[in-house]
Structure formats: structure tokens, C-alpha cells
């Protein structure tokens, strides 16, 4: 490496830390200088980040394309709403239960579904959404059918005699930030563990993975359940923010949004999913794009991903990042 390059490298690495600090500052103090509507857009993006992280574990790490993520998101939303309506449980109970219920449901669904390969698996996961839709519409005594559940309580925390509710958008921003932060941390720990390496092995070559002793089926099932837990937590966060949930949650709209975040952001990375949720959710929410126009844009993006950018749109930020002297993630 020449002297000049070396100087440039150090100079650029010098920019990396300030960039991180600046970003962290922006994130932490956003409510102070950002309008409440923009804040709302960011909250929605952070909520969608959760099921997207789950899907990234499936598609990006283990190589399983699933459309069921919207279904588990909906299950989490309903579970959380029903708990807080009927038992008036605090938020942390709701969010944990929503994750666990989604995960528990994913287990019996995953066992037969994961025996299928390729397109059959995709069709089967699509079936889970449709079944979710049918149940939420027809189990009227529980879900109130097409009317859905409304006035779901805003999240509240209770510790002994001390309790408070999260009502304002700014407060919800911090709540969502905390949950999303924890989810990113959990995701990071999973993919950096030896198990994460085994998942990549399954994605790269399933037969070889078997041949070096990896019980591929067990891992796929674990990942399917984990992805459902992520989605369930996201659903819980979603329902307490909007305070309503209806069978519309099981429409293709949600699954497609989650799919486009992961594929468009760039599969197999954390930064890609964060970038994807900002680009596809926060931005379109912020610009108040009508849902049908948004869906058309997603459709065009899917075609672009298939035919032009198989790695998603994240390599763009990756380039900026390495220009600042960082290592490729």
C-alpha cells in the first residue's frame, strides 16, 4: 500500500466515528426537531423492521423464501390486542406473549411445511396467510370478524405502585426504538453465533451441510419459529400504536411490504434491512403515498430486484460506508 493511500485511509477512518456519533445523535434526539408526522413515519418503519429481521433470518441466512411473515405479524397483533383488551395486561407482558404465541403457532405449521421444497414451500406459506384471514374473519366471537378489534389500549408499564402509559408519538418513538434496538441486538447475536454460520451453510448448500453433520431440518424449523417470534413482536408493537386490528392485516399488503424491505434492502445484512425499512416504509409513509401507488412501486422494485439488482439497493449505502473507511459488513 502506498503512503498516499495509507494517509487517505486514516483520514477516512477518522470520519467514521463522527458519522456514527452524528447518526446516534440524530436517532436519539429525533423527536426534538422532527415533526410529529415524520416521527410517525419512522415509528411505522421501526415496527416493520421486526418482521423484516425475522424474514432476513429465513431468506438471507437460511435461504428459505417465505410469505407467511405477514400471517405471524397478524397473529402477534391479534394476540396482543386480545390480551390487553380482556386482561388489561401491561405492555411487556403483551409483547412477550405475542412473540411466544406466534412462535408456538409456527412450530406445528413449520413441521409439515419445511418438508416441502422451493415453490411448494412458498405456496404453503401463502396458504398460512389465507388461513389467518379466514379465521380472523369467521371466528367472530373472538375477533369480531370484519369489524376487527378497536380501541386497543395504548401500552402501559406497571412496576409495583408505579405505572405510566405511552401515549404521545414521541414516547412511542422511544418505545419502538428500544424494542427495535433489542431486536437488532438479538438478531446480531443469533447470526454471529456458530448457529448463524450453520444457517449460512444451509443456504449455500444443503446437502453438504448435512454431510458435515448439520441437522438442517432442525435448524430450518428453529429459524422458522424465530422468524415468527420477530414478526409476532412486531405485530404487538403495531397494534398498540394504531389501536385497531382487522382481517386486513392478513392481506398480501403486509407480507409484500416485509418482503420488499428485506429483498430491496439487501438480504443477509442488518444494515440492509434497516435501510430497506427506511426506504420502503418511512419514505412512502412520509410522502403519504396512496397504498395502491405504493404497491405498484413495490411491484416495480420486485421486477428490478429480479432482473437488475439481485443484491437489493443496499450496496449503494455500502459504497458510501466504505468511502468513509469502514469495512464491508
Amino acid at each position: 500500500m502506498s503512503q498516499l493511500q495509507e494517509t487517505q485511509q486514516t483520514w477516512r477512518s477518522g470520519l467514521r466515528l463522527p458519522a456514527i456519533i452524528l447518526m446516534a445523535g440524530l436517532v436519539l434526539f429525533a423527536p426534538a426537531f422532527v415533526g410529529s408526522y415524520s416521527l410517525h413515519a419512522v415509528v411505522i418503519a421501526m415496527i416493520f423492521l421486526l418482521p423484516a429481521l425475522g424474514l432476513n433470518l429465513l431468506v438471507g441466512y437460511t435461504g428459505l423464501l417465505s410469505l407467511a411473515q405477514g400471517a405471524f405479524f397478524g397473529v402477534g397483533a391479534y394476540a396482543s390486542a386480545l390480551l390487553s383488551i380482556h386482561f388489561n395486561t401491561p405492555f411487556y407482558v403483551n409483547v412477550v406473549s405475542a412473540g411466544l404465541i406466534s412462535g408456538a403457532l409456527a412450530l406445528p405449521l413449520g413441521i409439515p411445511a419445511l418438508r416441502l421444497r422451493a415453490t411448494s414451500f412458498v405456496m404453503c406459506t401463502l396458504g398460512f396467510i389465507v388461513i389467518g384471514q379466514a379465521i380472523s374473519k369467521n371466528w367472530i366471537s373472538l375477533t369480531r370478524g370484519d369489524m376487527g378489534l378497536s380501541s386497543v389500549p395504548k401500552p402501559y408499564f406497571a412496576l409495583g405502585p408505579w405505572s405510566f402509559s405511552v401515549v404521545s408519538t414521541a414516547a412511542y418513538y422511544y418505545l419502538a426504538l428500544a424494542v427495535a434496538g433489542l431486536a437488532i441486538l438479538a438478531f446480531y447475536l443469533i447470526v454471529r453465533s456458530p448457529a448463524g454460520r450453520n444457517m449460512i451453510a444451509i443456504r449455500e448448500n444443503e446437502t453438504l451441510a448435512e454431510a458435515v453433520g448439520i441437522p438442517t431440518w432442525t435448524y430450518k424449523l428453529i429459524v422458522f419459529v424465530l422468524s415468527a417470534i420477530f414478526a409476532g413482536v412486531g405485530g404487538s408493537l403495531y397494534v398498540h400504536y394504531l389501536t385497531v386490528v382487522s382481517p386486513l392485516t392478513f392481506q398480501m399488503y403486509y407480507t409484500t411490504t416485509i418482503l420488499i424491505i428485506v429483498l430491496g434492502g439487501g438480504v443477509g445484512t442488518i444494515s440492509g434491512v434497516v435501510f430497506g425499512s427506511i426506504l420502503f416504509v418511512a419514505l412512502s409513509e412520509f410522502l403519504r403515498v396512496a397504498p395502491e401507488i405504493r404497491m405498484i412501486a413495490y411491484g416495480i422494485c420486485l421486477l428490478l430486484i429480479v432482473f437488475k439488482f439481485p443484491k437489493g439497493f443496499a450496496p449503494v449505502i455500502d459504497k458510501v460506508w466504505s468511502a468513509l473507511g469502514g469495512q464491508r459488513a
Partner: protein, 256 residues
Amino acid sequence: MTMPAILKIEQISKSYGAVKAVSDVSLELQRGEILGLIGPNGSGKSTFFDCVTGLGTPDHGRVQLDGTDITGWPLNRIAREGRMLRSFQKTVVFSALDVEENLVIAGQMFAFDSTRATFGIGTETAAIVEELRIRARELIKLTGLWDVRHMPAGKLSGGQQKLIQFASMLMPKPKVILLDEPMAGINPKLIEQVVEAIRYANTQLGISFLIIEHNIDVVTSLCQRVIVLDQGQMLAQGTPQEIVINPLVREAYLGG
């Protein structure tokens, strides 16, 4: 006193519809032995391998590995619990990952005592992975892949990928390795390197080998004993020298 065979295969049969791919093949692999398995194309060698290693299930027959009946175990369990590893005819590596990472993955399921344990991230886990990495580097040196250890495995030549695959199989300190045409499609210079690696693993690490191979020179130089399959049945067995002059074998190869 004779030690019992490490791998004992009794009367394996496998049919696809009306076609009998393998019928009643039995063999014993002794401890420390390198046994060759040869036969014309379509003689059922690969099907036999698949049945023994759990990639396919045999219609009949039993497989015993070091005294344990492993018939019907899936591939991953035979590898993990039985420590019997296999290679594939078509070379396979984890293409997007570098050589070192390929080897670390190959060792993981043997270094951690359960699937659950692989989800750990603590210092204990880190220490185990570090040990795997050290072992991987040793094997990389041994197989002469040091200079390309940080290259994505998919970018390397066919011969180098064979070596990666072979090194991967040594990661878990196996008892038995089954090689499916280790020399197919690699350049003659590398053949000697692979032969040396096999011989080293056999003599220094005490691993027994069952090898399918077409290259008769390799078979003669490596194997103590050779078994010939033809049309799914065992045709002959003996030392390489006996096999080469056996008229039945010559007929199977030339007349088939």
C-alpha cells in the same frame, strides 16, 4: 487377536422401480485400511455409497459402524454421531464463504455438544470457535491451500475445491471417510497432492477409507484391498494386483 471391522456392511439392496441398482452387497472395512471400490459406470457404486451414508435408505441390509447399528440414520447423524464422513462425486463447497470458514463450519457440529449450544455467543463459545479456527489453519497448511485461504471457495479450481472438501472432512477427527471419485476432474499435478493427503490421514491420523475411484494407478498405490462391483453385484475382491489380472473384471470393463 483380530480387531473387529470398523465398518461392517451386510447385504445391502436397493431398487429403483424394477431396476435393481444394488443387490446383496456385503463388505467389511478393517481398522486403518484403505479399501477401493471400483466398477464400470452404472455398476451401483454411488447408490451403494448413498445407502451406507444415509443419503438414501436401503431396501434391505444392515450397516454397522464401530459396533453401532446405523442403518436408517440420516446423513447428518451418521456424520455427527458416527463420525463417518463422505465426499461427493460432484465437488461441493460453500461457494460464497472463504476456505477457512468452510473448514470451521465443517467442524462445528462436532465441537458443540448440541444444536442448542451452537446458539451461544459467550467466551466459552468463542474459545471453541477459536480452537476450530486453529485446527482449520493446520489442515489448510497440510493441504497446501494456505495462499488462498481467504478466497471464496467457489472461485477456486476444481482440484482446489476437492482439497477443501477433503480438509473439511478431516475437521471432525473422523473414524471413517468415504470418498466418491476423489481424483475425477482434477489436474495430474494435484493428484499426487491428494494421494499424499489421503496417505497422511490414514497413517498419521488413523482414519480408515473406502474409496470409489476410476484411476487405477491411484487405486493400486493407495489401496490394500479392492472390491469390484458390476451391475449391482459384487464381482470380485482381492489385492489390486489380483484384481488387475482377474479375467472376470477385465470382461466387465471391456465387454460392458
